[in-house]
Symmetry: C2
Subunit: 212 residues, 2 copies
Amino acid sequence: MPSRSPTATREPIAKRPGGRSARVRRAVFDATLARLVSDGYQALTIESVAVAAGVNRTTIYRNWPTKAGLILAAAKDRSEALISTKGSGDLERDLVALLTSVAEYVTSPIGRALVIASLSEADDPEVREAREDFWRHRFQAARDLIGAAAGGGSSSLDAGVDGLIERLIAPLFLRAFITGAPLDGPFIRDTVRAALRVPGSGGETKPDTTMG
Amino acid sequence: MPSRSPTATREPIAKRPGGRSARVRRAVFDATLARLVSDGYQALTIESVAVAAGVNRTTIYRNWPTKAGLILAAAKDRSEALISTKGSGDLERDLVALLTSVAEYVTSPIGRALVIASLSEADDPEVREAREDFWRHRFQAARDLIGAAAGGGSSSLDAGVDGLIERLIAPLFLRAFITGAPLDGPFIRDTVRAALRVPGSGGETKPDTTMG
DNA sequence: ACACAAATGCAACTAGTAGTGCATTAAGGA
DNA sequence: TCCTTAATGCACTACTAGTTGCATTTGTGT
C-alpha cells in the first residue's frame, strides 16, 4: 500500500469538473450521508453507497480511496449555513439559541453519525483537523455573541471567554454522547445561567485555541 | 442470522468455568484490550485477537459472537478499582483528584478506545446501557464526595448536585474527544473552581439519573 | 461537428474476514 | 481411573473490500 494520506482525493487535479462529474459527485455525497445515517459509520460499505448513488464502485474508489475520506468530503460539501451567528444583544437569550442549535445538531442522526465517524478515525490527522476546525468555527460564533454583548454591559467576560464557551457547550456533549440524558429546554437554560453566573476570575486557563 | 442480541455471550450457561476455560478467557480479554488499543475498534478483527491470545478463532466466535460483545465483556472484566472514592473532606481538593482520575482515563489509550467503541455501537442497547452504567457509577463517586463535604459546611449544594457533577465532568470530555485541547492541571483546577462558584439556585434541572 | 482525453463502467482477480460443521481434547464427576 | 460431554481446534465455504486492465461514454477545446 502506497504511503498516501488515508483521506486523499483526486480533486486537486480534477480537469473536468462540469457535467457528469458534478452529477456523480452530488449523487455520491448524498448517498454517502444517507447511508451514514441509516447504517452508521462502521456498517457503511462503498458498495451500498455506489448502489444508492447509481454509480459503479470503481468510481468511488478512484475519487475517494477511503471511507473516511469519502465521508469527510461529503460532510465538508454540506457544511454551510448551519449556524446563525447574528445575535439580538440579549446575551442569555442568544446563548440559549446557540446552544439549542448545537443541541439539535448533536442529537440529529447526521450530526451524531458525523461526530462518531470522526472519532472512529481519530488517528487520521486530516479527520482530526477537520473535526477541530468545524468546532472551532462554532466556538467563534459563540465568541462573537459574547463579544457583542460584552461591549453592551456585562463585565468580567474578557479573560475567561473561551473557558465560558467550554462550560456552555460541554454539557451538551456529555449528555448527547455519554450519559444519554435529554437535551431539553430547561437543561439548556440552566446550563447557560450557570455558566454566566460564574464570576470571571483572573485565574482562568487560556484554552488552547489551536486545539492541537 | 438468528435474532439474538448482538452482545449475547455463553456465560450464563457456562458449566466448566475452571482450568482451561479460565485461561482462555483471561488470554482473550487481555488480547482484546491490547488489540483495541493498538488497532482501534473498527480495525480490530477476531482473527488478530485469536492469534494474540494463542487461541482459535472459533473459540472466540462461540463464546462472544460479536465484536461489541467481546469488547464489552473484556471491559467489564477489567472495570474494578478504577476509582478512589474516599475523600479527604476538602471538597475542592477531592474534586480535583476525581477529575484528574477521569482525565487520565479519557486520555489513556484504553479509555479512549473504549469510549469510541461504545459510541461506534451506539445502537446496541446493551452497549449503551453498559456505557451509561459505567459513568453512572463514576457520577455516584462524585455524589459521595460532594455529599460528604456538604455535611461539613458548604451549603446550597443539595438541589443541584447532579447539575454540578455534569459541569465538572463535561469539559473533560469536550477537550478529550472534540476539541483536542489539553487536559492539564490548571484546566482541571479552573473547571472545579468555576463549577463550585455557581450559586446553587432552585431552578436547576434534575438530570435524568436513569440516563434513558 | 470533430477529435482527444478525461472520467466512468465493466469484469475479473486477489486478499482477507466472518461464520459453520465436524473432529479432537480435556474438565469434572463417578 | 474411566466416562461423559463441554469446550476447543481444524478445515472449509461464503462474502466483502479493494485493485487492475480494458472498453465505453462524455466533457471540452478546436
